[in-house]
């Protein structure tokens, strides 16, 4: 344990804190465990009495009494076995569930910049495997305490009967503790090795199935089969490594108590013959040696488990201690119902400098931009010109380095996050929908929204038509196990979701890129309606979409290079024409492919 303590101090702190919050339950668990210990230990003593006072003394009344006492102890042991198990698991599972909920809630609050770097898989394994390790340790705490007390009590009892025999009978047992620790430590990496190789094998299977067209197309079946054989052999080899560890330790763990029993029979037998020991004591020694096998093994296992749990808790702690960078400020200013120049939804960027990280290049460099309330602005520019960044600074997904972002006269950093985000609706470039019904997805901002509002939002987003003809309409489940929608359909649902929230500022970040160009005009009309009384920022490539906006802002390397209406810029800005042309060219090829050829059928 000491080495573990050194390596994972905050991990230990997390485990201790978690246990402290469950101290009542854990204490109950320990007490129940002690009840079990009392019953269990008394059995050996009662057997000794039954043999010595009953059978050997030929006193049948006494024998009956002791036998009934053993039966009584049986009831006690049985009852406490169940109770201590229940109590221990209850607390451990609670700690696990509680930590998982805390992690989830914390992850939900962590800033975008954190999620830009975090890997989903890693967070998942912390919230899954690591928490299980902690759970496995916590469950052992009350069980181990009662086991330790059992070992102690038995040792004391036996010492009072015959110290020398105790030494001989139990002398080998501490080694089973040592062996169990070693066993656990040696087995763990072997098991991890199997998991590693199994994962590699699974990867070969997955990619062969996913790439079956390539495999079949090139006749690479035998090549893949050979690759799998290698992986299967590796899994076999690692599994046999683990089997060898088991073969080394399990028989030894079995041998140690046998040594105690042999010593008991040999030395104890001679003691009985010499009238130094009663036969009942000899029998009880036998019973006790057998009884201590499991408690001692578990004591051994808990050391290794403790270290794994501490390392796991360290990783969990790392997530929990990461403070959300974007948080409510003390100012807590409300968003006024009306901006400084009348109307709702005025946006100002004042000298905004921004980079995604200290060492990363500056994306916006002293940007000044005023969007009056109710205006719609199209942000146009090449990849990396800062369009998306501007969109993400308004709902304060990131904080600026210098300068200010102001909504309706208030610095976004002074507004309560929940209020700001309610005021700003953003449709992301990459659509994310939840595994839920379509209706629930659209009503994400307001789960209690009545059906007609959902339908209205869907209509405006041009989604109503296709939703209606789905097997279950708005109740159709989507996502992993549900109906799969096309990219364009997903985007339209995302737009409906933003519309339903009825924000004062709506931001569409390339939100129609996957919508079939032939169908985009349907949305275009609807979008025009949505934009009418609302400040809207549109990031788009298709000229027709751009043309919807009152104003176009052309960006290049984080600066505004042209600003005006679409028609103005077309005639005055060569840079604007160039950006549009290259976007058009990229679009045109695919557009021709899909729509024109589609027309044949």
């Amino acid at each position: 344990m000491p080495s573990g303590t050194k390596r994972a101090p905050s991990g230990w702190r997390l485990i201790i804190d978690s246990c402290r919050s469950r101290r009542v339950g854990l204490t109950v668990g320990v007490l129940l465990g002690l009840g079990w210990t009392a019953g269990k230990v008394s059995v050996g003593l009662l057997i000794k009495q039954a043999v010595d006072r009953g059978i050997e003394a030929d006193d049948m009344a006494a024998l009956r009494g002791w036998a009934v006492a053993i039966a009584g102890a049986a009831v006690v042991v049985g009852g406490f076995t169940g109770l201590r198990r229940y109590a221990a698991f209850r607390e451990a599972r609670w700690v696990e569930a509680d930590l998982r909920e805390r992690m989830f809630a914390h992850i939900q609050r962590l800033h975008f910049a954190y999620h830009d770097h975090a890997q989903t898989g890693q967070l998942m394994s912390r919230a899954n495997t690591d928490l299980q390790q902690i759970q496995a340790f916590v469950v052992m705490i009350p069980l181990t305490i009662s086991n330790a007390v059992t070992v102690l009590a038995v040792t004391v009892i036996l010492l009072t009967i015959d110290p020398m025999l105790t030494l001989l009978a139990l002398g080998s047992l501490p080694f089973s503790n040592v062996l169990a620790t070693r066993f656990s430590r040696r087995l763990h990496p072997a098991v991890l090795g199997i998991q590693q190789e199994s994962a590699e094998l699974a990867a070969v299977v997955e990619e062969t199935v996913a790439g079956v067209r390539v495999v079949k197309g090139f006749g690479a079946e035998r090549v893949q089969a050979a690759r799998l054989r290698v992986e299967a052999d590796d899994v076999y080899a690692r599994s046999m490594d683990a089997a060898r560890v088991r073969a080394m330790f399990l028989p030894a763990l079995e041998l140690l108590p046998n040594l105690g029993l042999i010593a008991t029979l040999g030395y104890g037998g001679h003691q009985v013959l010499a009238n130094e020991l009663t036969l009942g004591a000899l029998v009880s020694f036998n019973v006790y040696v057998v009884m201590l096998i499991w408690p001692l093994r578990m004591l051994g296992m808990i050391l290794a488990q403790a270290q794994r749990a501490a390392a796991a808790a360290e990783r969990v702690h790392e997530v929990l201690e990461t403070a959300p960078v974007i948080a409510d400020s003390a100012a807590d200013a409300p968003l006024p119902n009306e901006g400084p120049s009348g109307g709702r939804g005025e946006i100002r960027f004042e000298g905004v400098r921004f980079a995604y990280g200290a060492e990363l290049p500056v994306v916006l460099d002293g940007l000044d931009l005023i969007v009056p309330a109710g205006q719609s602005v199209a942000l146009v520019g090449a990849t990396g010109s800062g369009k998306t960044t501007i969109a993400r600074l308004i709902p304060r997904f990131y904080d600026v380095l210098t300068g200010r972002v102001i909504v309706d006269g208030i610095d976004v950093r002074d507004v309560r996050l929940s209020e700001l985000r309610k005021a700003v609706g953003l449709v992301f470039e990459e659509t994310f929908l939840f595994s839920d019904s379509i209706g629930a997805n659209i009503a994400f901002a307001d789960p209690d929204a009545p059906m007609d509002r959902i339908g209205r939002a869907a209509e405006l987003a041009g989604a109503h038509e296709f939703i209606e003809v789905l097997p279950h309409g708005y109740d159709t489940a989507i996502g992993e196990r549900g109906y799969s929608l096309s990219g364009g359909q997903r985007q339209r649902i995302a737009i409906a979701r933003a519309i339903l929230a009825d924000p004062r500022i709506l931001i569409l970040d390339d939100a129609t890129s996957s919508v079939d160009p032939t169908k985009e005009h349907e949305i275009r009309d609807a979008l025009a309606e949505v934009m009418r009384d609302r400040t809207t920022i549109v990031i788009a490539h298709r000229p027709a979409t751009i043309a919807l906006a009152d104003r176009v802002v052309l960006l290049s390397e984080g600066r505004i290079v042209a600003d005006g209406t679409h028609v103005e810029l077309l005639s005055s800005s060569p840079a604007y024409r160039e950006v549009l042309a290259s976007a058009e060219q990229r679009g045109a090829e695919t557009q021709t492919d899909e729509t024109e050829l589609e027309g044949v059928g």
């Binding site: 039954a50 990619e207 046998n258 036998n286 027709a544 043309a547 549009l580």
Partner: protein, 600 residues
């Protein structure tokens, strides 16, 4: 406390199915006959030693201590030492042997199933969901792995221990045994109930874990949307609800064992009480020796613990059986596109004849009807038409990824169904639309197109299509590792690998599925050049998505509504004034920039 298995009601096997399964599993185990016999001997010996210890204690007490015979006592002690040594050795070897048999069996299953998966053809992959196929090879085999690692050993040894203990105790004193195990029926009933309940509880927990994890995953993946809508607290509350459901499922499962384990423990100790009480009485009446009573006290646990372990293992055995059953069913899936006996190798060059071909996917509507087509050696044909009209299917039939429902596809006059699979794959190669990269180096990725190709062969193939420099520029050149399906590589680079594979395969006939998505302009040029060089001197069938491709082909086939509507050169078809001509007119007229104008 080990991992428990569980089995869905639908997967539960009946007696006949279980018997068949066992028979078949034993057939697969035949190569390990000798290990199995060895393992069985070890298990029997080990079980015997487990009982021999207490038996020697009995002997030592009755013959040594009670009669004052030091020699008999010492003999018992020496005997016990020998028994302990034998126990150690036999335990060690039984772990090794059973693991070796089990792990070998699993390896064989993996290899066999995968080999069979490789033999199964495209129709199978169309029918089955990829996830299900993968889970056969992963979670199903893994669920057997658990059994093999510890369960099998425990199952065999506990079963044997139970039987042997029963017999030995009965021989020593059947009367005392009968009285001691008075609780055994309760234990058995409780065990059966436990086994059923814990199966249900296990499935509940499994579902709970599954939904909690997918909720978690969604919460992480969708965190930006959650924050954008300010729904952090609502989502956390929703997660908490699911998490509590999982907690409850865990507690239900614990409750079941918290009821069951006490019954086992209670029964075992009650049996001890009876053995001491009644046995003691019979010592008094002279019917039994005190050593026998001791023997019972030390051995009775051998009856109750195995029952408990077996009932816990039973779920694991059942779920493994269900898994194995699914795997055998997969092995029994017939190969849709088999190789006929007496199949011939295809000659190096040959023309292609599609003769009155009809085709429908299994249980699907007809996709192609009465399509006939002749492609001379070295000709380049572009198939155009709307998505789903059948042009890809026609191309796939030419590569025999499917067999036609009626009619024939011939290469050099040989029906493809009479050709060896190997020669067919040498002569006809399909280059899929998107370059798919496997884990491994770029070199290995190219090499899979020809078994046994050397590094030099791969290099030559890259040179032949003029892309060797492009790959030399990668950080580790051709030895650059592909990770996560090549997420670090651009679509264009992936396509180049795909083309390099085709070049290495060096087929006479090339089936190209043109990419619909466009590439960055730099790579686009390289890909087009590589493709041009690859097509040189080969018969080429292109599933065209761009009319410019069709324009350059020797022949154009318009496929629509499952029929070959028009066939001829580009010029002929344009002159003919049919569908192709219409199409071409819209395309060449529409490519201009009318979209650049603001919409009204």
């Amino acid at each position: 406390m080990w991992m428990q298995g569980g089995v869905d009601e639908a997967d539960r096997l009946d007696v006949d199915a279980a018997r068949n399964l066992l028979r078949r599993a034993f057939r697969m185990l035949r190569p390990y006959r000798r290990s199995m016999i060895g393992a069985l001997c070890m298990v029997i010996l080990w079980t015997t030693t487990t009982l021999a210890g207490p038996f020697l204690v009995r002997h030592g007490i009755d013959r040594g201590i009670k009669t004052g015979d030091v020699g008999a006592l010492d003999a018992a002690v020496i005997g016990y030492i020998v028994v302990a040594v034998i126990s150690y050795i036999t335990y060690r070897f039984q772990v090794l042997l059973i693991s070796r048999i089990g792990e070998s069996f699993l390896r064989d299953v993996r290899v066999r199933v995968f080999d069979h998966l490789q033999r199964l053809s495209m129709p199978f992959y169309d029918r089955e969901k990829a996830g299900v196929i993968v889970s056969r090879m992963t979670s199903d085999v893994d669920s057997m792995q658990e059994l093999v690692q510890m369960g099998l050993l425990m199952f065999v040894s506990n079963g044997l221990l139970l039987v042997v203990s029963f017999v030995v105790l009965a021989v020593v004193s059947w009367k005392l045994l009968a009285l001691s195990v008075i609780c055994l029926p309760i234990v058995i009933v409780a065990s059966i109930k436990f086994q059923r309940d814990s199966n249900t509880a296990y499935l509940d927990v499994r579902d709970g874990i599954g939904s909690t994890l997918s909720h978690l995953q969604e919460g992480i993946a969708g965190v930006r949307v959650v924050q954008a809508f300010g729904r952090e607290d609502v989502e956390s509350a929703r997660f908490r609800k699911g998490s509590r459901r999982l907690f409850d499922a865990h507690m239900r499962s614990v409750k079941i064992s918290a009821w069951y384990l006490p019954i086992i423990e209670l029964s075992g100790l009650l049996a001890t009480a009876i053995a001491v009480g009644v046995g003691g009485w019979w010592v008094h009446t002279g019917e039994l020796t005190i050593g026998t009573v001791t023997f019972f006290v030390l051995t009775l646990s051998n009856l109750f613990e195995p029952v408990q372990q077996l009932s816990q293992l039973f779920n694991m055995v059942q779920s493994s059986g269900a898994a194995l059953n699914k795997l055998f069913a997969l092995l029994d899936t017939p190969v849709d596109v088999p190789e006929r006996p007496g199949a011939v190798d295809l000659p190096e060059r040959g023309d292609i004849t599609v003769d009155a071909v009809d085709f429908a996917y299994v249980d699907g509507p007809p996709v192609l009807t009465d399509v006939s087509l002749q492609i001379p050696i070295g000709a380049r044909i572009a198939l155009v038409g709307p998505t789903g009209a059948g042009k890809s299917t026609l191309a796939k039939l030419i590569a025999r990824l499917y067999d036609p429902t009626s009619g024939t596809v011939r290469y050099a006059g040989i029906d493809l169904r009479d050709a060896t699979r190997r020669s067919l794959r040498q002569r006809v190669v399909v280059v899929p639309q998107e370059g798919f990269l496997f884990n491994g180096t770029i070199l290995e990725n190219v090499r899979l197109a020809r078994e046994g190709a050397t590094d030099a062969d791969v290099l030559a193939a890259l040179l032949a299509i003029g892309v060797s420099e492009r790959f030399a520029d990668l950080p580790d050149g051709l030895m650059t590792e592909v990770q996560e399906r090549g997420s670090r590589f651009s679509a264009g680079e992936k396509q180049l690998v795909s083309l390099a594979r085709a070049a290495l395969a060096d087929p006479a006939v090339l089936v190209l599925d043109e990419a619909t998505s466009s590439l960055d302009p730099g790579t686009e040029v390289v890909v087009e050049q590589a493709m041009a060089r690859l097509m040189e001197g080969r018969t080429v069938i292109v599933i065209a998505h761009r009319l410019s491709t069709a324009e350059r082909a020797d022949l154009v086939g318009v496929v629509a509504d499952g029929q070959l509507l028009e066939l001829g050169t580009h010029t002929e078809l344009v002159a003919q004034g049919g569908r192709y001509a219409d199409l071409f007119a819209t395309w060449s007229g529409g490519i201009g920039g009318s979209e650049l104008l603001p919409s009204p």
